[in-house]
Amino acid sequence: MGRVIVVTSGKGGVGKTTSTANLGTALALLGKTVVVVDADVGLRNLDIVMGLESRIVYTSMDVIDKQCELSKALVRDRRVDGLTLLAASQKNNKDDIQPAQMKAICDKLRSTHDFVLVDSPAGIERGFSNASAGADEAIVVTTPDVSAIRDADRIIGLLQHARIEPINLVLNRFSPELVGNGSMMDQADVMDILNIDLLGIVPEDTGVITSTNRGIPLVYEETSAGAQAYMRIARRLTGQQIPIPDLEQKGLFTSILNWFTRKS
């Protein structure tokens, strides 16, 4: 039986889709069978980030409407073995799908894949309940800014309420320079507030944008810091013990100093 993991955040634009595409690809590169599911009905873009948009024929909506078999709706990624995408309908909206229908799809996918990664839309409404309906685990993505963190905190509360466990954190767009000069929250501050397990830190990486535009997930760019971060996270997901490297180059002393000099 595979694991169904919802990738969610609360706040929009923090990197859910980027993380789903990269972790899905990374897990497949590690030899796992993976399906990435776009749950952002009406605003889909996982297909674009994966570079598969031209090959989509059926969506999860067609499966629900019994227009096609689930297996036929899965688009195979030809670059790596064992990776498929289930696209979301772009014509419909989030209320056209019921949580129970999403759960049924996830339950079926779990029987044939090691990992089912569900890319959740932003927000705490129907889109989120659909995306999390079939999940047993969650990855919460946040950036190190107060509004994203507050929304992540909100989502964590909702996930706990829904008894989805474990809930792991991916801290995205982390910039050691900004932490160093005192203008970004550091890892410890974030973890202190959210108080869940840290799955990994992905640095701010301009490669993400070019890879999105080309439809080639960053993890193929083996030398990039972002790719390496996503590979490490994927390994941790498979149970390997990989320490989280210290991205904060500046020492503790500098941050304390910054803290004192930042404001009077």
């Binding site: 507050r150 507030i193 803290w259």
Partner: protein, 224 residues
Amino acid sequence: MANSIVALRAYRDGLHLIIKPHLSITEIEKAIQEEISRMNRPLNGASIQIDLKAPTLQEEEMAYLRSKLKETYNLTVREFMVASEEPAPPPIAAAPTTHIITQAVNPPDSRESEPSRIIPYTIRSGQTEDFPQGSLIIYGDVNSGAEVRAGGDIVVLGALRGNAHAGMNGRLSSVIIAMNLVPMQLQISNYLNRIPIGEKSRGYPEIARIGKEDVIIVERFVKF
């Protein structure tokens, strides 16, 4: 954030307006205006003590300030304290409040007979905990965007980052204690803090209570 010329502080004995030395009366006036405009509610009717860090203001300038504060902000100056040149001890807190509704009767202190409720987890953004019957004890954090309300005291054995309202039944002796007191907003009975208490922990537990002069004061919690 506080402008460096004047600072409004809540001490045990009430509100203080601290003024740096060697400044012209115009500079001081402007700084006071800025400091007071930072608050979202007027300090109407409060009485304050003015602390001068050095004897650099003339008698007539002090008299002018006194009448100006009365006229413009309806603030009564209790007294001028002129410090010698060495620095004064650091303030206990920076959290004046305003008196929203006058409390006619002061209900008896019922802390010991009140029930209390334990919340053995962190309260996250969007979640609330209400316990009008008595006091709340939280074995976790109250995060930003979360809210806790209690009839009596609120004790947070973690960080208080959200909103807390103690003494919602009017018990003015209610207190809010947190290992890490960095709230958005505090309310005790019908007193609300107005100057932000600060977003960085001072590294020791603190207690908020209603002090003299209608203000919530915050100080280091040593023992009750």
